[in-house]
C-alpha cells in the first residue's frame, strides 16, 4: 500500500513534469509574441525587449524549462507580468471556484445518474428504462454551452430562481451555492446521462454474475441484493470514469465559466492562452494536471477501498 502510494506519487510527478515540458515546447511553437500582446498596441520595441527579458523568453528553451522547475522546487511559480502578482496567488485564487463547480457537478451527477442507472438496470426493457435511456443519451450530447445558455435564459431570466453571473458574495455561503447551481447543472447534465448509462450497463453485467444468483438463492431481499451486493461492484468502473472525468470537466468548465462570467481555472487557462500570458498558462496547466493526477489517484484508492481484490494487488 505504502509502496503503491509512493509509486503513484512518483508517476504523478513524472506525468506533471512531462506535461509541463511538452507545454513549453508547444508554447514556443505558437505564434504571437507574449511581450507584444501583453503590452498592447502602444509598446515600443525597447519595451517589448525588456518585457521578453522579464519573461525569460530571451533564454534558450531548455534553460527556461530548467529554470521553471528550479523555481517550482523552491515553491515559486513565477510572477504574472501584467498585474505583478505571484502566479501561485492567481491560480490558487481561481482554483476554489473551479473545484467547487466541478465537484458539485460530478457529485450531483453521481447522485442522480447512479440511482437512475440502477433503476433502469433493474427494470430492464421496461418503458421507464427506455425513456430514461433516451433522455440520458440525449443529455450526453447536449453541449455545455448550449445547456448553459438555456439554463440562464430559463432559470435566471424568466423564472429568476437563480442569479445569472459571477460566483456570489465572498463569505456568504448561501449566495455562493445559489451561484453554483446553474453552472454545475450545465456541466453536470451530460454526466448524469453518461453515468446512468454506465451504471446501467455495469449493473446489468453484475446482476448476471453468479454471486448475485447466490444472494437471491439465499432469499436476500431484492433491495439488499441490488444496493449492497450488486451496486458496490457496479460502481467500480464509474469511480474510475469519474476520476478520469475530472480532466474533461475542466474543459467543460471553460465553456460554463465563459457563459456564466464565473471566475475559475478554466477561464484562466483560456484567457491566459489568448493573451499569451505564459507564466499564468504554465502555472494553471501545472495545477490542472496535478489536479488530474490527484483525482485519478483518489479514484484508484476508492476502488481499492471498495474492492478487496484491487486492495490486495496494490
Amino acid at each position: 500500500m505504502l509502496i503503491y502510494c509512493i509509486k503513484r506519487i512518483g508517476l504523478g510527478i513524472l506525468i506533471v513534469m512531462l506535461a509541463v515540458t511538452l507545454l513549453f515546447f508547444m508554447i514556443h511553437l505558437v505564434p504571437g509574441d507574449p511581450a507584444r500582446i501583453l503590452l498592447g498596441p502602444r509598446a515600443t520595441p525597447e519595451l517589448i525587449a525588456s518585457m521578453s527579458q522579464q519573461l525569460g523568453l530571451d533564454k534558450p528553451l531548455p534553460i527556461q524549462i530548467l529554470m521553471f522547475f528550479a523555481n517550482l522546487f523552491r515553491g515559486d511559480m513565477g510572477m504574472d507580468v501584467i498585474t505583478n502578482r505571484p502566479v501561485a496567488d492567481i491560480v490558487f485564487g481561481q482554483l476554489p471556484y473551479t473545484l467547487s463547480l466541478i465537484l458539485t457537478a460530478i457529485i450531483g451527477a453521481a447522485l442522480i445518474g447512479i440511482p437512475l442507472g440502477c433503476y433502469s438496470a433493474i427494470n430492464r426493457n421496461s418503458l421507464a428504462d427506455r425513456v430514461t435511456g433516451i433522455l440520458s443519451v440525449a443529455c450526453i450530447t447536449a453541449p455545455a454551452f448550449v445547456v448553459a445558455l438555456y439554463s440562464l435564459l430559463i432559470f435566471a431570466v424568466y423564472l429568476k430562481w437563480f442569479p445569472a453571473v459571477g460566483a456570489g458574495e465572498k463569505g456568504d455561503f448561501g449566495d455562493q451555492v445559489a451561484h453554483l447551481v446553474l453552472p454545475a447543472f450545465a456541466i453536470g447534465l451530460s454526466w448524469v446521462g453518461y453515468l446512468s448509462r454506465l451504471v446501467r450497463a455495469s449493473m446489468l453485467e453484475v446482476m448476471g454474475e453468479n454471486h448475485i444468483r447466490t444472494a437471491r438463492a439465499y432469499g436476500l431481499p431484492e433491495r439488499l441484493v441490488v444496493f449492497r451486493y450488486a451496486l458496490k461492484l457496479a460502481v467500480l468502473p464509474t469511480v474510475t470514469v469519474i476520476g478520469v472525468g475530472m480532466g474533461f470537466l475542466l474543459s467543460a468548465a471553460v465553456f460554463t465559466e465563459i457563459v456564466f462570467a464565473r471566475p475559475g481555472l478554466g477561464k484562466l487557462i483560456f484567457d491566459s492562452i489568448s493573451t499569451r500570458n505564459y507564466p499564468v498558462v504554465m502555472g494553471s496547466v501545472l495545477v490542472s494536471t496535478i489536479l488530474f493526477v490527484i483525482s485519478t489517484t483518489i479514484s484508484d484508492l476508492i476502488n481499492a477501498w471498495l474492492d478487496p481484490r484491487i486492495r490486495a494487488s496494490l
Binding site: 504571437g32 498585474t83 462570467a261 493573451t275
Partner: protein, 529 residues
C-alpha cells in the same frame, strides 16, 4: 422615476434574501420586477459590466478602456469628458485651464483637493509628477505616445502650473488630459510605493476609492468620504468583468446588473419589447472596422485587383448580416463627431459588380483569382468574412477565409515574428480609438509597417500630413488634412472601410447613467434616478 421603481427600491430586498424569501420554487421571484440599483443591506450599490478584468491601477500601465473606467472613478484629472452626445470637457481638479500658447497649457488647481491615505493636498507638483513620469524612459509606460510632444510640466505656484510641449499638440485636449494619461496621482504616495503601483493603489482623490479586486469576479469601488466634489452617489460600485455580451445582457435581464452594453443583434428585439423598467440607448462608436490589403504581397501589389476587391465588398449586406442593421457603413477611420470625419467615402458602400469586374479585367485576372482573408474568430467578424466571400465570388474573386484566435491574429502582420506578414493578403481588422483623429491615423504611417500597419501601406504625402495634422490647432484645417489622408488611403485601394459599429447600452430606470458620446460609461457621473 416611476412609482414602481420607488416601491422596488424601498423594498430593500437583496437578491439573496429574495431567493430565501421565495424559496427554491421561486414562485414569487417570477413576478418580481427588474432589480433596481440594489439596496443590499441598506447600501446603495451600482452594478455594472466591464468587458474585461482590471489589469492595473497605475495610469502609466493602464491597458485601455477597462482600466480607465476604473481609474477615472478613483483619480482626478484636470478635465474630464463631459457626458452627453457631443464631445467636450468639463473641469475637474482644475479651477481653470487654457491653451496659453500653441505649445503651452496653463492650469490652476482647485484648492483643498485631498489625496486619501494621508498623502495631503493635491498640488501642481503632483500634476508635474503624474504627467512627466509617463514620458520618462525609466517608467517604461506603454501609454507614453498619448502625451505626444509633451516636454515637461513647470510648477508656477502651489496650485498653478504650465504644461509645455515641444511642438503644438492639440490632441492633448482630447486624448491626454481627459483620458488615461491625464489621471493625477499623489507624488508622495507613488514615490513611497517605488514609483509604480499594480492592482492596488495607495492613494486616490476621486469620488470613489478602490476597495477590493476579486480577480475575474469583480472590482469593488467604495465612496471616497474625502472627495472634493462632495459625496459620491453610490456607496459602492461593483464592476463585473463579463467577456461575453450575450451573458452580460442575460445578467442584466436577470437583475444582476444595472447597466451593460448589449449585443447589436439584440437591439431590434429590445426595442420591440424592452425589459420592464429599463431604457435602451444607442450611441455611435469610435471603433473602426476595415478590410486591409497587403500592398507588398505579390498578388495584391496589383492595384487594380485591390480596387476590384474594394468594389466587390457590399457593406450594406454586412451591416444587415453582421450588425443586424444596428450599425452604419463608415466613410473612413474617423467616426462622426470627430474632427476629420468624412461625409462620404470615395467608393460607395454598396458593391459595384460592373466596376469590380472592370478592375479585375484591368488587373488581368478576368479568369478569376483566389485570395485569403484573415479574420479574428469573433462572431461578427466571421459573419462579415462570409458576406465578403459571397459577394466577391460574384465577380470571380474566390476568397478563402482563415480564422485565428486572438493571440495568433494580433501577431499576423508583425514583421518581428517570423515571415508570416509577407503571406497575409486581406485582413479584416478592427481598431479601438480615442476621441482624436490623430489616434486613428497614427497606425498607417510608413514607420508602422510591420508593427500595426499590416497593409504595409506607405505614402510620403500621408506621412507628411499625419505629422502636420497632429500639430495643427485650427480645426477646419485639421479636418481637411484628415479627410485628405483618408482619401489617400482609400485611393491606394488597400482599404475598404466597413463600419464604426455602434454602442447600444441598456440600464435600469433606477439609474441615471452618464456616457461619453461614444457610449462608454463615465461611472463617476452615474447617479440614481
Amino acid at each position: 422615476m416611476k412609482k414602481t421603481d420607488q416601491k422596488n427600491a424601498t423594498l430593500e430586498l437583496s437578491r439573496r434574501r429574495f431567493i430565501q424569501a421565495s424559496g427554491a420554487l421561486g414562485v414569487a421571484a417570477a413576478t418580481g420586477g427588474m432589480s433596481q440599483v440594489v439596496f443590499a443591506d441598506g447600501k446603495k450599490i451600482l452594478k455594472v459590466r466591464a468587458y474585461g478584468d482590471l489589469r492595473s491601477l497605475d495610469p502609466a500601465f493602464s491597458q485601455g478602456v477597462i482600466d480607465e473606467e476604473i481609474q477615472s472613478s478613483i483619480y482626478s484629472k484636470l478635465i474630464q469628458y463631459k457626458p452627453g452626445r457631443e464631445w467636450g470637457y468639463q473641469l475637474d481638479a482644475a479651477e481653470s485651464i487654457e491653451q496659453a500658447t500653441p505649445t503651452t497649457i496653463k492650469f490652476k488647481l482647485k484648492e483643498g483637493i485631498m489625496f486619501t491615505g494621508g498623502h495631503g493636498e493635491m498640488t501642481a507638483e503632483d500634476v508635474k509628477y503624474s504627467f512627466e513620469r509617463i514620458i520618462a524612459e525609466a517608467t517604461e509606460s506603454t501609454n507614453k505616445p498619448d502625451w505626444g510632444t509633451l516636454k515637461e510640466v513647470t510648477v508656477d505656484s502651489k496650485y498653478e502650473g504650465t504644461i509645455v510641449f515641444d511642438e503644438a499638440y492639440p490632441p492633448a485636449w482630447n486624448i491626454a488630459l481627459p483620458y488615461i494619461v491625464g489621471n493625477i496621482v499623489s507624488k508622495s504616495a507613488w514615490e513611497k510605493a517605488g514609483g509604480k503601483v499594480d492592482t492596488t493603489t495607495p492613494s486616490v482623490s476621486g469620488p470613489y476609492m478602490h476597495k477590493a479586486w476579486e480577480p475575474k469576479q469583480r472590482t469593488v469601488l467604495a465612496r471616497n468620504p474625502d472627495w472634493h466634489g462632495g459625496s459620491a452617489e453610490f456607496d459602492e460600485i461593483h464592476i463585473l468583468p463579463i467577456d461575453d455580451e450575450s451573458t452580460a445582457q442575460i445578467a442584466f435581464e436577470a437583475g444582476d446588473l444595472d447597466y451593460t452594453r448589449v449585443p447589436l443583434g439584440s437591439v431590434s428585439n429590445l426595442k420591440a419589447s424592452p425589459p420592464e423598467n429599463s431604457t435602451l440607448e444607442e450611441y455611435p462608436s469610435l471603433f473602426y472596422v476595415w478590410v486591409g490589403m497587403n500592398v507588398e504581397n505579390e498578388q495584391l501589389s496589383n492595384e487594380n485587383l485591390r480596387k476590384a476587391i474594394q468594389h466587390a465588398i457590399d457593406v450594406p449586406s454586412i451591416m444587415q448580416a453582421s450588425y443586424f442593421g444596428a450599425a452604419q457603413p463608415s466613410t473612413g477611420i474617423i467616426a462622426p463627431g470627430l474632427v476629420g470625419h468624412r461625409e462620404k467615402s470615395l467608393v460607395a458602400p454598396e458593391m459595384n459588380i460592373a466596376k469590380a469586374k472592370e478592375y479585375l479585367a484591368a488587373a488581368g485576372m478576368e479568369g478569376g483569382v483566389t485570395v485569403t482573408l484573415d479574420v479574428l474568430n469573433k462572431a461578427a467578424n466571421v459573419t462579415t468574412a462570409q458576406v465578403i466571400q459571397a459577394t466577391c465570388a460574384q465577380v470571380g474573386i474566390n476568397v478563402e477565409v482563415n480564422l485565428h484566435e486572438s493571440g495568433a491574429f494580433w501577431s499576423l502582420g508583425d514583421s518581428s515574428a517570423g515571415e508570416r506578414y509577407k503571406d497575409i493578403q486581406l485582413i479584416l481588422n478592427r481598431f479601438s480609438m480615442a476621441p482624436d483623429p490623430s489616434y486613428a491615423t497614427a497606425w498607417f504611417v510608413t514607420e508602422q509597417k510591420g508593427i500595426w500597419n499590416w497593409e504595409r501601406y506607405s505614402d510620403a504625402e500621408f506621412d507628411k500630413l499625419e505629422a502636420a495634422a497632429k500639430a495643427e490647432s485650427d480645426n477646419t484645417k485639421r479636418a481637411a488634412m484628415y479627410e485628405k489622408m483618408q482619401d489617400l488611403m482609400e485611393e491606394s485601394g488597400a482599404y475598404r472601410f466597413i463600419t464604426h459599429e455602434a454602442t447600444p447600452v441598456i440600464y435600469n430606470n433606477g439609474v441615471k447613467p452618464a456616457f461619453r458620446p461614444d457610449g462608454l460609461p463615465l461611472f463617476r457621473y452615474f447617479a440614481s434616478a
